[in-house]
Symmetry: C2
Subunit: 558 residues, 2 copies
């Protein structure tokens, strides 16, 4: 049998009309806004708080990943197919892909193999325009800021050296990280330092993810903190009368998107990725939409559970009043070998010793999930080079911890390959063992909240605050932003802030370099180690190997 | 009667489903790709070269405009309603609005009063994502260029000082005109000068407008000229293997968009505005689509006839083999007063002396249209403060020149207000007097082509080439780009390059400051006077007065 690429599998699938997917959720054709035959926007009027309370939310997260990722999206989609196969009504609720990774190294975010959401190309490229809307709203505010600096008539006396608001672009573009703008004379604005972040790292994306309705969205946009006047008064987006125009740009973006899985089950895709530099889960509105329409909702949070799951639980679930019934921890044998000391060229060769040595990473993630009083299930996302001995070792070690570890083969088999995982998840849900509680209270001081995450979740013995971070803490206090949630920016490659420390590092210190403020999102963003909020392209970008023929058929997109 | 704003009129209209508009053009529901209920994309397979030859193309252009514009879009839409009212099958084919003017001063581009295309808000905001796709394709190339400068493995030896390719953003953002990128150390790229143009000024937009099909689009994207290596070899987008990934981003953007007028007639909207700094007409594909589906196609070109119409005729009609049957020259009494010497506070007061003195502007545009061997009709786009005497003067003066001048009142009355104009247009079409010929041959040398436009159309006595422009000419020659069309960048406020010279300036010299190259679009772009390809926001941006309520109802958008 010829081995098909992800895009070939996706292109082979004959999709059903999106109105049929809507019908499966009890939604009439006239209620949805179609974008072609296979994508649609869902109106917020479908959100139903009573149903949200009754239905079951399952979070899919992962062990500390290798650069290729451990297949959380694939497992989330596969599990949804499996749940539907065993008679449950399940919907997968995912995040939207960013063009940065699509043209960089990692590829898109529509799953893989026989566990994909489709139309895969559309989802990975522009989709229904939400990222563009976020980018334009962000950059409109930037243009209004620079216009105000230049203005004679309504000048706010903003000190350009204090402006924290950056422009964004949905592209891996390192040359835009640090720039000087406003050059070339008096007609071209006031020269100042600026930079671009990648669009998913925009506070507007965070606001879209945290907003509960349109009114809340607009309020939060107005609350964006920009910088100080020369006489040290804080300036917000509302001072520039920016929030209405920004909200106008987000009129459609606030509505979740409906597509289908390869097995014709519903998939809702909405909001931002990048759990290392952003909150990294889909929108509160999308998760609530899923729970309003479906008995089981499978959702994912980015990178390892120390990043995405921690933020999903401490930030999103707290803000939205959500309470997950189970957490699926995705592990690959490959990544466990890596955490056990395997070098890159040894990743794909069976080696029980490496797996044994790497188990500590999975173990720490299991311990962490239980700190939230939620019961985990381990999904072993299997590859053809996994050995029976390695897999059995993981199953047995998990059993010793009282955790069910199940092989998941959605990549090769779709829902047929995840029925056992589905059953294990249902068992945990029906056992009623999970009673979510966050690991910190938003009302505790910022420094303490940062230390709680670093110590409890990462396993650090201490948190070092650089001089700049200390000044930032004092500013946060002065501005009265102590009650905000903590949205860490940390490498996804290690529990620590040092990406070379694999496995379960111990006796380490994490360093907070600086602390950003997202006042509209109500986030405090500590930047750990060398994290940057704008990625770069690799030596050979993925874009070089993509083609499109004259009929619009794409290849090389993954 | 309460005076309604444009957006209120648009919001009052109960739209019909876009499949019904498609049906009026003989297109089946299954053929179109819907974006919600009121917008759709049309597949290129509907283009029919035989029908294109048989059907009638009408260009709407204008006299030299005041900053508010003279209502070309309004007249184009109104005329389409009028033609349908007198029993012709007519479709209006327009350009897509840019967010820059929407949030700046001028407002959107969906017509006005009772001559609008709807849904007005959607058309003015993101629409179906075409501008975003253009922007992303442009900026992907930028990211690939900077990544290559930084790269160890496939470095093209590109000299960063020679890079002509700029980034773009669809925003009025003067602070991005001139910037320095790549700052902050070795991880952040190679420092160099760069700048952002507004998205409609992107060469990618020009390529989208000029492409005849997907194959041609991809070829042109590969042909984009970027700069030189340190040993003076030219580098193109294809050298970065960029054209496929760029084309992938434009997969949907190449398809024209279908919407409706207030009187439920078909409107096709596709491609770029800004005839001062770009080619400023809709796409060749959209015009051909209209002519494949409709007996009369009304299309517009931006600003005065010296800009949009000149480019429409010499560039687009030549490239696409199109031959307009009539040109409608839009004039307002207000603008004629302006050209006759009225100050801003005198624009709206009847004054026959000013109108008499300003007629010379209209007269020169009439002469110019006839140089293309096309018969003009003058549409007097009427306002409530126009006097009978002023209007009659224009009608009589035009009659002396053998030109039919007709009052057009589409703004207040829709198609009922444009029936006379429609009859006048049909008369010209059926008289078969127009036999289009361009005023220059693409094969003549670049300098000569520039001089022909400046002397024949603008009325200049001489063209001055600055030192930089002379060097640019030599470079164009070395690169073998002599056969390209000329796409002037000139102020829209005067026939000359000095915006204060109203009326019909004489004995003036125009200065070519520099000359840009758009090798994929096959354009040479002479920059006249102080033109900039990135606008700025005004002291009080339009965005400040926009609101959106919690139900998504927008006000203040024009």
């Amino acid at each position: 049998m010829k081995h098909l690429t992800d895009i070939e599998i996706a292109q082979e699938k004959e999709l059903i009309h999106i109105k049929e997917i809507a019908a499966k959720l009890g939604i009439e054709e006239d209620t949805i806004e179609m974008f072609g035959k296979y994508k649609a926007k869902l109106p917020l009027t479908l959100i139903d708080e009573d149903k949200i309370k009754k239905n079951n939310l399952i979070l899919v997260t992962a062990i500390t990943p290798t650069p290729a990722g451990e297949g959380k999206t694939t497992v989330s989609i596969g599990l949804t197919e499996g749940l539907n196969k065993i008679g449950k009504q399940a919907t997968v609720v995912l995040r939207e892909p960013s063009l940065g990774p699509v043209f960089g190294i990692k590829g898109g975010a529509a799953g893989g193999g026989y566990s994909q959401v489709v139309p895969m190309e559309d989802i990975n490229l522009h989709f229904t325009g939400d990222f563009n809307a976020v980018e334009k709203a962000n950059n409109l505010l930037s243009a209004l800021i620079d216009n105000n600096l230049q203005s004679n008539c309504c000048n706010l006396n903003l000190d350009p050296r204090t402006i924290l608001w950056k422009r964004v672009i949905d592209m891996n573009d390192r040359a835009l990280r640090s720039i000087v703008i406003g050059l070339g004379g008096t007609a071209n604005g006031i020269p100042r330092e600026d930079g671009f972040n990648i669009t998913p790292a925009s506070e507007v994306m965070a606001i879209l993810c945290m907003a509960t309705d349109f009114e809340d969205l607009k309020k939060r946009l107005g609350d964006i903190f920009i910088g100080f006047t020369f006489d040290k008064k804080p300036i917000f987006a509302r001072d520039l009368k920016a929030e209405n125009a920004m909200a106008i740009l987000l009129k459609y973006a606030i509505k979740p998107n409906l597509v289908q899985t390869l097995e014709e089950n519903p998939a809702i895709i909405h909001g931002g990725p990048f759990a290392n530099i952003a909150q990294g889960t889909n929108t509160i509105i999308a998760t609530k939409m899923g729970l309003s329409l479906s008995n089981y909702v499978i959702t994912e949070a980015g990178f390892g559970a120390d990043l995405g799951a921690e933020k999903f639980l401490n930030i999103k679930c707290v803000a939205a009043g959500l309470s997950p019934k189970a957490v699926v921890l995705v592990a690959t044998i490959r990544a466990l070998r890596h955490h056990g000391g395997a070098k890159k060229d040894e990743f794909n060769t069976p080696n029980l010793a490496f797996v044994k040595a790497g188990f500590c990473n999975l173990e720490k993630h299991i311990e962490n999930i239980r700190k939230f009083n939620i019961e985990p299930v381990v999904a072993i996302n299997t590859f053809s080079n996994d050995s029976y001995k390695e897999i059995n070792y993981i199953i047995e070690k998990c059993a010793e911890l009282g955790v069910n570890a199940v092989v998941s083969d959605g990549w090769a088999k779709g829902g047929e390959g995840t029925k056992e995982l589905a059953k294990a998840v249902v068992e945990v849900v029906e056992s009623n063992k999970s009673h979510f509680k966050p690991i910190y209270n938003w009302k505790t001081p910022v420094k303490e909240k940062i230390e709680t995450i670093a110590k409890e979740i990462y396993g650090a013995i201490e948190v070092d605050f650089d001089k700049k971070a200390k000044l930032n803490l004092a500013r946060i206090d002065r501005l009265g932003f102590n009650d905000f949630a903590i949205c860490m920016a940390k490498t996804q490659k290690s529990f620590s802030d040092n990406e070379s420390l694999v496995g379960r590092p111990e006796n380490f210190v994490v360093t907070v370099r600086e602390i950003e403020i997202a006042a509209g999102a109500k986030f405090i963003i500590p930047i750990l180690g060398q994290m940057m909020r704008m990625p770069g392209l690799p030596g050979v970008p993925a874009s070089e190997n993509m083609t499109i023929d004259n009929n619009g058929v794409i290849s090389g997109l993954s």
